[in-house]
Amino acid sequence: MSEAFTETWYRLFLRAFPSRHRAEYGTEILGTLMNDSPRRVPSPRETAALVTAGFAARARKAAEGPAPWWADGLHLGLLTLALANLSYNIADQASPWWLATSAALVVALLRGWALAALPLALVIALSTGRAMLHMLVGAEATGWAPFLGPAYHNWVSLTPYGLLAAGAVVLAARRSRDLRTRPWWWLAIPAAAFVLTYAPGFIEYGETWQLVRAGTEGVLLLAGVWATIVARSPRWALAAAIYVLPGLASALTNPPASLQHTAYWSALAALLLVMVATGWRRAAKA
């Protein structure tokens, strides 16, 4: 391996830092890594430090954003719900209209466009809740059926969509354009759902789907715990609560049949509790 390879390697992992940090210190970091302790092989310790220090810098930068912590946490929580909604619509092979609506909501939230997200979130909530609304008010818009997605027949299943709509109302009512633009790599989640759905031999919501879902949720929640410890902000705990609590409510109402599912929901609840406790203690100390 050559020094050029080592430099390229470190340059790749430098991308863990936010762009401002890279612009300020990037060349100097490379200089210290390459000039002062020259190596032909990248050091695993230095590589791990670039990743951890980079993500810590990103967490601190997120906590210093212009939006208040609760608005930023709400924004992130709504984005995770919108991503889950889009991923499940991909797996259900929903109509193109419905996929476009769900994708547009994800994009609006990624860009931090609260006013654009509001009508989309309302449409999605009203559509998924149309069966229950029909029971309540007796009116059914059957003519719209080809354009709509799935409808749920119990209130617990509708909780995430209700939260999505209520949260979008709160963000739009702030009339502030200080929400962050979030990175496009979040789209890796619906992209993975697309690959899994159209992979040969795919079983709808089979073991692979469940494993990828649990793995993604676990990694994101652990990253949230770590970001909370580093940046001393409860924003990630709020976002995690928005995502996890509706699912937990559903699991409590209809207790899972298998030990595997019970363990899965217990793990999500434990991670959420750890994040809330950490955010609480860190905010009190700060």
Partner: protein, 107 residues
């Protein structure tokens, strides 16, 4: 103040230093306990500069790459001295009790 931050600031007490100099000095002064990785050091330098505890003293170019020297600001000097005094006071709580006990045991 974390131990690595303390040793980064302590490394600058004798005068300005560049990144690698800080790493080496922190390792020497901590008896090899604090081995700062480069990424960790520059994360800490960014935070300390943001808090006004250190500042860039000068910049030079070595093998075509920029190398900046960092120095303690007055606030940084006060912060590290205050931390040293706090740890000294905390240490005395223990050493003040152990020393007479050891003398009694030896007698």
């Amino acid at each position: 103040m974390s131990e690595p931050t303390y040793f980064v600031l302590a490394a600058l007490l004798d005068g300005p230093s560049h990144g690698y100099g800080i790493i080496k000095r922190a390792e020497e002064q901590s008896g090899g306990r604090v081995r700062l990785a480069v990424g960790t050091l520059y994360g800490a330098l960014d935070r300390l500069a943001g808090d006004g505890l250190i500042a860039v003293d000068r910049e030079e170019t070595v093998q075509g790459r920029p190398r900046r020297y960092y120095r303690l600001t007055e606030d940084g000097r006060v912060a590290v001295m205050r931390e040293a005094a706090r740890m000294e006071q905390a240490a005395r709580v223990v050493t003040g009790r152990i020393a007479p006990a050891m003398r009694t045991a030896q007698a």
